[in-house]
């Protein structure tokens, strides 16, 4: 027995139960899949997922690599944390950039939704196929929007990465059926039952490092179509009459910088961020340009293989 044994609870809190569930899910995948990988987007959900992976397999490092499907258009601060986080965890980092998108110079300014399709959707499929990954952890949560409320923890994809909402396996108790045929793969969502508040509170309680962009600071910005965009590098294309204006902003979600809207905020600490989140009246995905279609847009994207 250790002298400084930490006191353990007699009743688990909701966060302790969510943590235990996520760890259980990750261990099941490692025990049953042949070649798992963790999707790592560098966002706050990925940060929590990575922390849970470290905890699940401690003292071993997580027995799978991290995969970042890069678009070349992420925030600079994300690239910086990506390298550091992988190194700290003792994990291999695989970065995949769709060579076709790279060659054609696909970018969010000229190519609209093609940007997401080629870099992210196609890029992800390419990476999974090229490395032969048969299980990929993702940080998606059921509370994000309606189509995800019904997503399974283990979500099966055909050999061409398609998702059929009518043909998903029932999930009972904590028993996950990870069996699959050759070529098929499974996306696994250990954070399915977490809410945005849970994510933030867990980051707060565990001192998990996140991209500084989540905290408010004065940053160069442009306001366009009701969205505040950050001028993150010199590839930013100003439209007529636009110029960078310093604003005190932060981000609720992170993606490609020209597609990600910021919020004006003075929140510089986690409790302040949580406070703002709880008192705000718009949902998290508002900040992402890709969702501004109809209600069924996410379902359509998932059928096509978007994470």
């Amino acid at each position: 027995m250790t002298a400084d044994a930490a006191p353990a609870p007699e009743r688990l809190t909701h966060l302790e139960r969510l943590e235990a569930e996520a760890i259980h899910i990750m261990r099941e995948v490692v025990a049953e899949a042949e070649n798992p990988v963790m999707m790592y987007s560098v966002g706050k959900d990925s940060a929590v997922m990575l922390h849970l992976a470290k905890k699940a397999f401690y003292p071993s490092p997580p027995p799978f690599p991290l995969l970042h499907v890069d678009t070349t258009w992420k925030f600079q601060a994300m690239y910086a944390l990506r390298e550091k986080a992988a190194k700290d965890a003792g994990m291999e980092l695989i970065v995949h950039r769709n060579p076709e998108a790279e060659e054609k110079g696909i970018n969010p300014f000229d190519h609209g939704s093609l940007h997401t399709d080629l870099w992210k959707t196609e890029g992800l499929k390419q990476a999974l196929t090229a490395h032969g990954f048969d299980a990929a952890f993702g940080g998606a949560r059921r509370d994000e929007e309606k189509a995800r409320a019904k997503e399974r923890v283990f979500s099966f994809r055909s050999a061409n990465h398609g998702w059929d909402p009518k043909n998903q396996r029932p999930e009972l108790w904590s028993l996950y059926n990870a069996r699959k045929n050759k070529g098929e793969s499974v996306r696994v969502f250990p954070l399915s039952n977490w809410t945005e508040l849970d994510i933030w509170q867990y980051i707060h309680l565990n001192g998990i490092e996140i991209v500084p962009l989540y905290f408010s600071a004065r940053r160069p910005t442009v306001e366009r179509d009701g969205m505040i965009l950050m001028v993150d590098d010199d590839r930013f294309r100003f439209e007529d009459g636009e110029e960078a204006v310093e604003r005190s902003i932060r981000f609720r979600t992170l993606g490609c910088y020209p597609l990600t809207g910021a919020v004006e905020s003075e929140a510089t600490t986690l409790p302040e961020i949580i406070q703002e989140m709880l008192l705000t009246t718009t949902s998290e995905r508002e900040g992402r340009a890709i969702d501004h279609d109809q209600a069924a847009s996410m379902e359509k994207k998932k059928r096509e293989g978007y994470f």
Binding site: H24, R27, S60
Partner: protein
């Protein structure tokens, strides 16, 4: 308004003292519950109301909800809360939820995960899925319609999946003018039914999802109701983990953690009990013992609390433990308290819910996952199917989508388990198609079949034939079956007297007598009735091994059970004697006064009244007690017995 205050306090705390709010939120427990009912009962409206009133809807969602409500809603210009929770596009068009959707909300006391499942019979598997992780079920009934077939089905399924907290939400009270008598009638109806299927307790709440009565706060429209509002109850009801924590320690090993030669840890989620360093443990199935050395967790990076080695851990936690001794232990094994290990077996009786379009077939091998074990399994015997609407038992040889049956199942090697009622983590299993890899069924273990325990057959020199020969007879089992009051016992008794007079060695196993001794631990539940027949069959078989002519008198209403006993014996030794008495005649005789009680509703599951009797199709001997006296029937049976052989 009372509803508003609850929200306001939380909001004020968030605004004024976020640290205090976080401290409060951090310590909340988690309740998972399921809502059962159809769109017509206002289920989605009720959930939408909980989300709306607990401020889980954001302004942009609300804006789209308002737009959707006008476009496809069913509430005119008002907000249609149901649209909030109906997810996939196809479902929204059809106006029904066809899968399991999970919703999240929190109050000052708890965080909640709601499994929203469809109510129709063709979605039984979805409801079973949602119920498998729930601590509580909210069963909705429409105050205008009362307890319906689907109410019974939802209650039966919730109970089957082991949900111990049932809430009967009598919805749409606004449409019956909040009438207490209407509410009381429904509750009284439900109480009668619930007791019959083993639901010991439930809470009935009069609510209106549309108007919000008794959901977040007590409503002034129902002054006669003295129970809690729905949310009050959800916030305070006991959790299943509280129960599991008090059981002996058990943990299925998921993964062996071996970073180097100096460290070997066993990772898993604690299914029950509590563990601390120094505790003696036993590894199943090997039975090897050791003691817990450490409960290892990752040290905190930034000085967060709770990390480093744990002083103890409890049910529900995912841990890695190390043992003091180098003993074999790998994925699939169960580490348990040394003095209270779980059973290990390879044959079980279980209830199976079928979830695939392709029917379940006894004899076909399936993959099975139980705990952390992946094995192969076969359904060796389908004892009976349960009609989910009436709870009647029906004989059946296969199981269709959404069907539920009690089966014997056999695995290709022994596994540690606990009965499902004790612990779902070690007593629930899924069946997987070995070709498509789809999850095709889910099961709940009742008990191990005793013959499966590692007992080898002992060969004996005096054979069963030798025993019979010495007695100058052939062993037989005369299995009398028929309605209560048909005259089985009377006739069997007369037959035995005749056999005795003929110098035959016989023994009469009477139903009532057996229940005084061998089967004194069995009641009259479905499971117990099947076990009753199984034991009688086994005893009768031993007696025929000894060369006796055995007579049994049991109603034994199901073909499946009679078939089970027949299969235990060599061909030609089992003689089914159908004592054929029409129900009217048996009821008129009513020797024990049981029919009167059953008709008065004092006896449940009484064969012929509210439980079926399946007549034998090919009985070896049939006697009609309307045309024959008991004496004539006995005479006829003895004649048939010795003329036939």
């Amino acid at each position: 308004m009372a509803d508003g205050e609850v929200i306001y306090e939380t909001e004020a705390l968030i605004a004024e003292d976020i640290d205090a709010y976080l401290e409060q939120h951090q310590h909340k427990s988690l309740l998972r519950f399921i809502t059962c009912g159809s769109v017509d009962d206002g289920k989605s409206t009720l959930i939408g109301r909980l989300l709306y009133d607990s401020k889980m809807i954001f302004e942009d969602q609300l804006a789209s909800l308002e737009a959707d409500s006008k476009q496809v809603g069913t509430q005119g210009q008002g907000i249609d809360f149901a649209l909030l929770v109906d997810g996939l596009a196809a479902e929204r068009e059809q106006g029904i939820t066809i899968d399991v959707a999970y919703r999240f909300f929190a109050t000052e006391k708890r965080k909640f995960i709601v499994a929203d499942t469809p109510g129709h019979e063709q979605y039984t598997r979805n409801m079973v899925t949602g119920a498998s992780t729930a601590d509580l079920a909210v069963i909705l009934v429409d105050a205008r319609k009362g307890v319906l077939t689907q109410t019974r089905r939802h209650s039966y399924l919730s109970h089957l999946l082991g949900i111990r907290n049932i809430v009967l939400a009598v919805n749409k009270m606004d449409l019956v003018d909040y009438d207490q008598a209407a509410f009381d009638d429904i509750v009284s109806d439900y109480r009668d039914f619930a007791a019959g299927i083993g639901i010991e307790d439930f809470l009935a709440v009069p609510v209106s999802g549309l108007k919000g009565d008794n959901i977040i706060a007590k409503s002034s429209a129902t002054p006669w109701y003295d129970g809690p509002a729905l949310l009050d109850h959800l916030e305070t009801v006991g959790l299943d983990f509280d129960r599991r924590r008090k059981q002996p320690f058990r943990m299925a090993v998921q993964w062996v953690n071996r970073p180097n030669l100096d460290f070997r840890g066993f990772s898993g989620m604690i299914a029950s009990g509590r563990i601390a360093p120094g505790d003696p443990v036993r590894v199943l199935p090997s039975g090897k013992t050791s003691t817990v050395e450490r409960i290892v967790t990752m040290p905190a990076l930034g000085g967060g609390d709770g990390d480093g080695d744990l002083g103890h851990a409890i049910a529900g936690q995912s841990v890695t433990i190390t043992l003091a001794d180098e003993i074999d232990c790998s994925r699939g094994d169960v580490i348990a308290a040394a003095d209270a290990p779980p059973e290990v077996a390879d044959q079980f009786e279980a209830t199976i819910v079928w979830m695939a379009d392709e029917p379940m077939l006894p004899g076909r091998p399936y993959a099975i996952k139980i705990g952390t074990n992946n094995l192969r399994a076969t359904i060796t015997d389908e004892k009976y199917q349960v009609n989910v609407n009436t709870m009647e038992k029906m004989a059946s040889k296969s199981l269709e989508l959404n069907g539920i049956a009690v089966c014997n199942i056999s695995t290709d090697r022994p596994v540690p388990f606990t009965p499902y009622d004790d612990n779902p983590d070690l007593g629930g299993f899924i069946l997987i198609d070995r070709i498509t890899n789809a999850t095709v069924g889910a099961g709940m273990i009742h008990f191990a079949l005793r013959r499966s325990q590692n007992i080898h057959w002992q060969a004996v020199d005096i054979t069963r034939e030798a025993h019979a020969e010495q007695k100058g007879q052939k062993a037989k089992l005369l299995w009398f079956t028929g309605l209560s009051g048909s005259g089985k016992s009377t006739i069997a008794n007369l037959v035995e007297k005749k056999l005795h007079a003929m110098g035959k060695h016989s023994f009469l196993l009477d139903g009532d007598n057996v229940r005084h001794g061998l089967n004194r631990d069995l009641g009259f539940t479905d499971v117990d009735r099947v076990e009753n027949i199984r034991r009688v069959g086994e005893v009768a078989k031993l007696m025929t091994d000894a060369g006796l002519i055995v007579l049994t008198a049991f109603i034994s209403p199901f073909r499946a059970e009679r078939q089970m006993v027949r299969a235990m014996l060599p061909e030609s030794e089992f003689v089914e004697v159908f004592v054929d008495t029409p129900l009217e005649v048996a009821e008129q005789r009513d020797v024990k006064g049981l029919y009167r009680k059953a008709r008065a509703g004092e006896l449940k599951n009484f064969t012929g009244i509210d439980s079926p009797y399946e007549e034998p199709e090919n009985a070896e001997i049939r006697v009609n007690t309307v045309e024959m006296t008991a004496e004539e029937a006995a005479e006829y049976i003895v004649e048939q017995l010795f003329n036939g052989s």
